[in-house]
């Protein structure tokens, strides 16, 4: 937008010029995304097509990798575990984080600054630092290998994320709206549910989706806190890299299944992407 004013050349460019630019852009991005494309293609290839020294672009697609991985090797269970853990941890994070974020966005208290700083530090906390105590604690109380242990571990980043994200959305709702609602006869809680919440629906949906993606993608906590029965998809996949041989076709299939839902979700919240990736540190859009 801004560039057009300082660059009259762009405006003078003809149709062919623009077509050419479009072609170059598409080609660049095809090359850029080729690892992803290659992975998805490989998931439909049979062994022979995968293990060739020069890449095969045209092949006869097969669903064998999917059926073997999800029916015979039990990745269906991993899929289910990923869903359960992501949904529960996101729901808890929203339930705890939204009221906290609302309070932080409205009442200027003395502790607010300190609390926000603590939240920020919590977001800087490397997962590796928490993994040791969480592992030892989970073993001591006998929660190791349960959903609860992983959910709790995911909450360590999910709650601070929710508070930061939602605080931004709540700050965008003028305080005078809650005040008007309270003068109109609402209690503080009713003002929140009837006025503020409907106005931040989009923000809550975006936060929820980012929570799901973050939990879904998480690897380290899941690796050390789950057992065979509760392992998520990212934990399960490396099992296919065995000393006897690597089942690349099946890896590609499971990886594709891991990645497809988050892609769909991500494009639904594209306009909140900057906010989501910076955890609400930067405003939306």
């Amino acid at each position: 937008m801004t560039a057009t004013t300082v660059n009259p050349k762009a405006r003078r460019m003809g149709r062919t010029g623009r077509m050419l630019i479009a072609l170059v852009v598409v080609a660049l991005f095809l090359a850029y995304l080729s690892p992803v494309i290659w992975l998805v293609m490989s998931s439909f290839k049979n062994r022979v097509d995968i293990f060739t020294t020069s890449p095969t672009v045209f092949f006869k697609p097969t669903l064998d990798n999917y059926t073997v991985a999800f029916q015979d090797k039990g990745f269906g269970a991993n899929l289910q575990n990923s869903v359960i853990i992501a949904v529960i941890s996101s729901a808890v994070a929203l339930l705890v984080g939204i009221p906290a974020a609302y309070r932080l966005s409205r009442h200027g208290s003395r502790f607010q600054g300190a609390f926000l700083l603590a939240l920020l530090s919590a977001r800087l906390l490397p997962a590796m630092v928490l993994s040791v105590p969480l592992f030892v604690l989970a073993n001591k109380v006998g929660l190791s290998g349960t959903y609860l242990a992983v959910v709790a571990a995911h909450l360590t980043f999910a709650i601070p994320f929710t508070v930061w994200m939602m605080r931004g959305f709540f700050l965008a709702v003028p305080t005078s709206l809650d005040e008007a609602a309270r003068l109109d006869g609402c209690s503080e809680t009713a003002a929140f549910f009837r006025v503020v919440l409907p106005l931040t629906k989009g923000g809550i949906a975006a936060t929820a989706i980012f929570l799901l993606i973050n939990s879904w993608n998480e690897f380290l906590f899941a690796l050390i806190l789950t057992s065979r029965d509760t392992a998520t998809l990212p934990v399960g996949i490396p099992n296919l890299l065995t000393p006897i041989g690597t089942f690349w076709g099946q890896i590609a299939a499971v990886a594709t299944v891991t990645v497809v839902p988050i892609c769909i979700f991500a494009f639904a919240v594209q306009k909140y992407m900057v906010a989501g990736l910076t955890g609400g540190a930067l405003a939306n859009e």
């Binding site: 705890v96 040791v132 380290l220 996949i237 991500a266």
Partner: protein
């Protein structure tokens, strides 16, 4: 709630770091050892090596991401009809499961049948035994992959930042006779500096904790060539089961990350107020 899920484990970790605890090493049953674990850090050559690897990885990767991100961000900003397509395509790598990203490149760079190996061989840019099997090649590959995954973050921030820049200074500069390139260099980039600072801060603090991709790409190898800090800690805690020492290493890392981000944030702030 936050206290329960974060502060308690953190406090427990501090306690653990002054003990000697391991589920498998004999005589490590949780007795107090004072500062022993921290003293060990000072003389741990493997740890120091991991710090060097981490430093190289973070500095090179984040620098490349910043430069590439700015260039691509500005280019995207100048696109018109392709703009939406370009931003969508850039989003993809960032939201992909990091473990899958690692696997994907492990696959693509496979010495026998990886399609990127084939490309490299055809162009004669790399030797025949696979990039990941050489210690330099593996680190370069790791950096390359991180840049592939994360330069869009900087680019996206630049695109967002460019939209908030007021038009008037740009117009004033072009009236003052600056060429397009001069406008970018003298006006746009300085105006983008705050948002770039935030982007770099985010990238640096995240790159310091790199684990998933290394784990599945090289496992830290060959040898310890790509054993970044978090991977080394993983080896200590969950391969050697030296959990107390792992706790101490973790706390030292956290303190370093906090200090580093505080310093970066401060210099960011100071530049802001100085203007």
């Amino acid at each position: 709630m936050l206290g329960l899920v974060v502060l308690f484990p953190l406090a427990y970790s501090i306690k653990l770091s002054f003990q000697s605890y391991s589920p498998i090493i004999p005589n490590h049953t949780g007795q107090w050892v004072g500062m022993d674990n921290y003293q060990r850090i000072l003389h741990d050559g493997d740890f120091h090596h991991s710090l060097i690897v981490t430093a190289i990885f973070v500095v090179v990767a984040v620098s490349l991401e910043t430069v590439l991100g700015v260039v691509v961000g500005i280019a995207i900003d100048r696109l018109r009809r392709m703009r939406r397509f370009a931003t969508s395509a850039l989003l993809l790598p960032m939201i992909l499961t990091p473990l899958v990203v690692g696997l994907m490149f492990n696959f693509a760079l496979n010495a026998q049948f990886g399609y990127l190996t084939w490309v490299f061989n055809t162009l004669h840019v790399a030797g025949g035994d696979g990039v990941l099997n050489g210690s330099v090649g593996a680190l370069v590959a790791l950096i390359f992959i991180d840049v592939w995954e994360w330069f869009p973050f900087v680019a996206l921030m630049v695109v967002a930042g460019l939209q908030t820049i007021p038009k008037e200074p740009l117009e004033a500069a072009s009236i003052d006779g600056a060429s397009t390139r001069q406008v970018y260099w003298h006006i746009t980039l300085p105006l983008l500096r705050p948002i770039l600072g935030i982007a770099i801060l985010f990238r640096a603090t995240e790159a310091i904790r790199e684990f998933d991709k290394v784990f599945v790409l090289t496992g830290g190898g060959p040898g310890s060539a790509t054993a970044v800090n978090d991977l080394y800690q993983y080896r200590v805690s969950f391969l050697n089961w030296d959990l107390s020492y792992g706790a101490a290493l973790g706390l030292v890392t956290f303190a370093a990350v906090l200090a580093l981000s505080f310093l970066m944030y401060r210099s960011l702030r100071r530049k802001e107020t100085a203007r």
